[in-house]
């Protein structure tokens, strides 16, 4: 597979809005592209729990308890697997109910007005930020 085949590109204007997902084929891998807090994140479309189509799940806001008070976390910051409803942080892939599980994440960068999602993670590369 050539380096170009290990990437998917799309115009920044086609990136999803917060709360939405844009599905991509990255070198044969199904990947969901998300926007959160003006950054873009890419998650594998495979739930590490039972292999469900994670990116078909609803983007949701976590309900939390802080200092004994019921509150909400960052709006639209998690994706809930459509099969068994386990929740994963979009920004990290971390599973909220099983610390041993993490959904695979892919690096996202901006290049010449395009969003680039890659199978390969350059060491120390920051998350892409629109306009950044």
């Amino acid at each position: 597979m050539t380096p170009a085949e290990r990437e998917a590109r799309l115009p920044l204007s086609d990136a999803p809005a917060e709360g939405a997902v844009r599905m991509l084929d990255v070198g044969g891998h199904r990947v969901g592209l998300y926007r959160l807090d003006d950054a873009l994140y890419a998650l594998a479309d495979r739930c590490p729990h039972r292999g469900g189509p994670l990116c078909a799940g609803r983007v949701a806001t976590p309900v939390e308890v802080r200092d004994g008070t019921l509150t909400i976390g960052t709006p639209r910051s998690i994706v809930r697997c459509p099969w068994h409803k386990w929740e994963f942080e979009i920004s990290t892939g971390r599973c909220l109910v099983d610390e041993r599980l993490r959904v695979r994440t892919y690096p996202v960068r901006l290049e010449d007005g395009e969003v680039v999602v890659s199978l390969d993670r350059p060491p120390g590369s920051p998350d892409a930020r629109p306009g950044g």
């Binding site: 039972r50 292999g51 799940g57 809930r80 459509p82």
Partner: protein
């Protein structure tokens, strides 16, 4: 060969049953309540949806707690996706009919549901077999319905929900046991609608506050029926009777059997019709659905805990599709020793439901 003994299907609204109802019942369904007859339902909600989210779209119009799954969706997302050779259809909302206060109405709705599922699913895809839905609180009507539909190849058993007014071993249910014994049909007792309608609370502790509590305890009704059936000597009086316990887990049944065996030794004089130690009836008469397979961090702990049930002979694969806690087949099977898998995959269910044997090419 794969047999799934727990697939749920349901109508979109009760109005779907109108063509199968007599005129007075149609009138009740249409005219009752504010916007037609409403079924009682759970006091809790699953926090993110009762069903797998990828099988339906949220709409603006509330229907039932459950969603209508079309035959196309069932085929695409389950039967074809997992190469299910035979699937046993259980009800969704129609399971509530056994805990409806109006027993006569419940019996008419149950008959209509059976006609509906027969026409729209069982006759449309020969991979599907139905469980007859009855109004258990009206045993005479239930027995009539069992004899009406139980002679058809499309139906392979009788569905009874976990929620009930009285445990299923009680003599009031004798007409039901007589009918299934006569026809050689198995009964599935499946967790559903505990605490709803005329059913008692899910446990004697009182009403749980959260859905997570309820769903952890929901097998409690089934455990009550299980012990009741054994203590009333159903398998002595109705020797052709077979019962499956579906969606009650597995580990709790082990504890109840051990405790009942012990109690039987001291209390045998109270239930002398139980001529054998209660657990000894299990191997010939009882089977268990695999879902939800208990999933401790160490799978070996689960296997050790259920070994007493002789799962290689008693366990039948169950998906619970399309509910949120369904188990897909390979995920279930790979947790089991390889020498159990063919039996769990199909052989135990084929014998229990007396389904066609696989065709050897």
């Amino acid at each position: 060969m794969l047999i799934d003994c727990d697939i749920h299907l349901g109508y979109e609204t009760l109005n779907d049953l109108l063509p199968y109802l007599d005129a007075p019942t149609r009138e009740l369904v249409v005219s009752s309540g504010t916007n037609g007859l409403a079924m009682p339902t759970y006091p809790w909600n699953h926090p993110s949806g009762w069903d797998r989210q990828d099988v339906y779209q949220r709409g603006d119009v509330p229907t039932t707690d459950f969603v209508f799954i079309s035959l196309d969706t069932l085929r695409e997302r389950h039967l074809d996706a997992y190469d299910v050779d035979l699937g046993i259809v259980e009800p969704d909302e129609a399971a509530v009919l056994s805990v409806l206060p109006n027993a006569q109405l419940a019996a008419r709705l149950a008959s209509a549901y059976n006609d509906w599922v027969l026409e729209h699913f069982l006759q449309e895809d020969r991979r599907l077999r139905g469980m007859i839905v009855v109004a258990a609180q009206h045993p005479e009507a239930a027995a009539r319905e069992i004899r009406r539909m139980g002679v058809r190849d499309e139906f392979v058993g009788v569905f009874l929900p976990g929620g009930a007014r009285v445990p299923y071993g009680n003599p009031m249910y004798d007409p039901i046991w007589e009918a299934v014994n006569e026809l050689g049909l198995p009964v599935t007792v499946h967790t559903h609608y505990e605490t709803v309608g005329i059913a008692g609370p899910v446990t004697a502790a009182g009403m749980p506050d959260y859905y997570a509590e309820y769903h952890t305890l929901c097998g409690a009704g089934m455990y009550g029926h299980f012990v009741s059936i054994l203590c009333h000597g159903i398998f002595e009086r109705y020797p052709e009777t077979r019962v499956a316990m579906v969606e009650g887990g597995l580990v709790p049944f082990v504890g109840f059997l051990w405790r009942l065996d012990t109690n039987w030794k001291a209390c045998r004089a109270e239930i002398p019709w139980c001529r054998r130690r209660p657990s000894e009836y299990i191997w010939d008469h009882v089977r268990f659905g695999s879902q939800p397979l208990e999933s401790p961090d160490d799978p070996q702990q689960m296997l050790a805990a259920i070994e007493f049930l002789r799962p290689w002979d008693t366990l039948m694969y169950a998906s619970d599709f399309p509910h949120w806690d369904f188990d897909e087949p390979e995920q279930t099977l790979r947790q089991l020793p390889s020498e159990w898998r063919d039996n769990v995959r199909w052989r135990n269910a084929q014998g229990f439901f007396r389904l066609p044997a696989p065709v050897v090419a």
